[in-house]
Symmetry: C2
């Protein structure tokens, strides 16, 4: 990066909020995906005006800009593939307004999901999408990936809560789209286009979110199955009753074993479990929980006295979040990685999907743990790979292709809530073959110089196991890790 | 229109589904708005392939294409301002799939809202947005205006139910966007951009809608107020409790008087009424109705024994739909027209808004009836004008400008559910000043020849009382009504 660009950046954000030190560039080259690439500069703007000036500078100098929240993205969203400026938005973390009587709140993009809900919860409200990374992820990141989580079946995804956005466009213009009213039909819904655009169409600098009422009561029960297929079938049997659960979390035996081994939580050692939650009026919750257990039994489930034990359920829910790290300790030479990790299928296809994934895993000699928000058909697979084995990665990649082919055959999508970026790009292109050109036209119209998060989504070419964060391919790629001497402690304080 | 274009159209849809007869062109020049302009041709395609061929032809010959459903649009959406081809989509009226276990259905754009709900209702589901024109309006029209209605407070607008779309783009390409899963993050959410695009970005030819569960019970109560402000205040008091009603329909004294006069339904002759509905589990409904009445009383409401009387409530609900025609009989020389008819404000601003509208009406010497879905801040005003008096129209237009200035000052939007098209264009441009350029860039990228429903939204220039359907301006505009001799009966059968 040219010295003049760095000097201009420093003028905009101040010396303490700019870094081009190799240690920072390395660290900011990661997110929660398998990918890595060093940035050229990291800036931490304080407000919309600074973001606008940075983007204007980037536009003038054709420098890539990569917006970044907490870096919890699973597919490489914040990896600066083409170098450029990583725009760390975590300083913009103010909850600017909470208006319960108007059912909206206004937040900056760096606000953390759980922190927002702590504030809303005191007033009887919440933003209910419940992403797995809620303790860390930012609202801005959720908006640009259309994130959600276990409660999307009943409460929808982030797109369903975005009432309005302030966006710095790729030209540096600041626009306001959407409203602070619960609905609007006033011109193109640019806000809804920005949701899920993964930082390729602009930088979201303020979000107006619809508030939902917290349910008065909720309860969960744990159904154990000796057949993975039956567990999947149970999900669609509940929906078709019709009965609306607030969540059904499925875990297969690979995940159960991993969590039990790592966390010693005593989950039933069966083929699959479903943790089924209902919420609403206390009377309705009690009634529906009974119906749920009845349907689950008819679908082949067994229950024990512990199934409804509140303390135990809380512990299991906690364990549910530990699946990914637990899988990394499944076998010593393996790490669990986000590959084919977020497909969604029509609810009735969940049983076919989970069984097919296990078959594909076996055929390719890889270990796959399947779990996920099965109530809305959104499944997560985590794959165990040997990070230093090219063969292991290749087998993984082959399995990914087969998994996504199956998902598309079942009428599903390659990503329900994590987004595309790098790791799902080739498969998204299959899924969206006939609308890629429309996406490209919109991108070109709004970002003609292609400065916003370039090289991602429809722009990605080739294999998904490029730009790996793991040293498997060191022979081809000397890596860009800094030497210890280059790593000064505390380049700047957080 | 060139003869060759008509001949090509005939080849695509067949003789019986094409008309260029003056009577048809005249009839298809209307919708439910104040505007009118003759079309050059009317076609009634049977399927997506035909739509694609028509649009390709239009693109090649730079002929405007105006998609049309039931013609219930209030702002001129289907009026062929620049002439061209009106694309009547009502033949495409198949419900193609209803998959309750997967919570979606697939419909063609010409399916009528109430007909779809009749089918879904048998299975315990519904599409709950509840537009006032539900008996007639089509799902396609609802999608492109992001329509909703009285239950949007609890159930959201059409945008919240669109899972996927098939769209014929302005080039004639057929694309598929969105999914048949409950959520997706797979590339740009083109479907959400198409929602509310008012036929300017393509023709929606198939819609995948999310299904909602029908509530087990619902109940309504009628609160009568001696102050319009208090009625507005009651709305936000209920929401802030927090309590989620499924609807709160407000009517001011002008509307009450008109409906009583015209329909003789015996609504309380007060300053304002709120018809408040709650739904859900029967126990919750009973509890919440009590709380609602308590809050309403504290806000100044009175209730009578009839307030909860089911039969009477049904009748009143029916009367509620008769406001617009009833207003037309308010005074003999007046007609009620859709002017400033669909603003939405933050819920807590409803009292300020409704009082301000009455003041503006008085100051401009016009009569305005205010009613609407006050629970979500969406208000409808209908204005009484003397159709043959230019002065009356001018006063109406002046009042509209003042009303929308007030709405924007209160943090609202000029349209909550009807859309922009012609009648709200100048005011939408004020509201969206900083994002108009973004809209234009998207439009130009997707429809470079500007053939799709041209002259509307950001493209509209000048006063909203141009292209009037009423004869007030006959002196300037000789009109385009056919001579009786030109009106052959039954140009084609419906």
């Amino acid at each position: 990066m040219k010295k003049t660009v760095l000097e201009e950046l420093e003028k905009i954000v101040g010396k303490e909020n700019l870094s081009a030190k190799i240690a920072d560039l390395y660290v900011y080259g990661f997110d929660a995906s398998i990918h890595h690439k060093n940035a050229d500069a990291v800036v931490r703007p304080a407000n919309t005006q600074q973001v606008s000036e940075i983007v204007k500078l980037a536009n003038r100098t054709r420098t890539p800009v990569i917006p970044r929240g907490a870096g919890t993205a699973m597919c490489g969203h914040t990896v600066p593939l083409k170098g450029g400026i990583v725009l760390d938005l975590t300083r913009m973390n103010k909850i600017k307004e909470v208006r319960v009587e108007d059912l909206y709140c206004v937040v900056e993009p760096g606000v953390i999901y759980d922190k927002l809900n702590a504030v809303l919860g005191k007033k009887g409200f919440w933003f209910p999408t419940t992403p797995g990374s809620g303790e860390a992820c930012t609202i801005g990141g959720m908006v640009v990936t259309n994130a959600s989580g276990m409660r999307a079946i009943k409460y929808g995804a982030t797109r369903d809560y975005v009432l309005g956005l302030e966006v710095v466009m790729p030209t540096g213009e600041i626009i306001h789209t959407g409203t602070r009213t619960l609905k609007n039909s006033s011109g193109y819904q640019i806000d809804r286009l920005m949701v899920g655009s993964e930082g390729t169409l602009g930088v979201v600098t303020e979000i107006t979110l619809k508030l939902a009422f917290k349910p008065k009561a909720s309860a969960m029960t744990l159904a154990a199955f000796n057949s993975l297929f039956d567990a999947g079938k149970c999900v669609s049997n509940i929906i078709a009753r019709p009965l609306m659960p607030s969540a059904i979390e499925l875990m297969d035996s690979v995940c159960i074993k991993a969590v039990n081994k790592c966390m010693n939580v005593g989950l039933p050692d069966v083929a699959a479990i479903c943790m089924i939650e209902v919420d609403g009026h206390p009377v309705a919750v009690e009634e529906e929980l009974k119906i749920v257990e009845e349907i689950a039994k008819q679908s082949g489930a067994t229950f024990t006295e512990a199934s409804r034990d509140k303390k135990r359920i809380d512990y299991w829910t906690y364990a549910r979040k530990a699946i990914m790290p637990s899988l990394s300790r499944y076998g010593e030479k393996f790490v669990s990685v986000a590959l084919a990790d977020d497909m969604s299928v029509p609810i009735s296809k969940v049983p076919d999907a989970v069984v097919a994934f296990q078959k594909i895993a076996e055929e390719n000699g890889v270990v796959i743990g399947t779990y996920g928000h099965s109530a809305d058909g959104n499944l997560h697979t985590k794959m165990l790979v040997e990070p230093n084995s090219q063969d292991s990665w290749r087998r993984g990649e082959r399995a990914v292709g087969q998994i996504f082919d199956k998902v598309l055959e079942l009428g599903g999508t390659v990503t329900g809530e994590h987004g595309v970026s790098i790791t799902k790009a080739p498969y998204m292109k299959k899924e969206r073959a006939d609308s890629l050109e429309t996406m490209r036209r919109i991108k070109k119209a709004l970002d003609p110089k292609n400065i916003m998060n370039p090289g991602k989504i429809f722009d990605w070419e080739g294999s998904i196991i490029q730009y790996l964060r793991y040293p498997a391919f060191l022979e081809q790629d000397p890596g860009d890790a800094p030497q210890p001497s280059e790593c000064e402690p505390k380049a700047y304080s957080r």
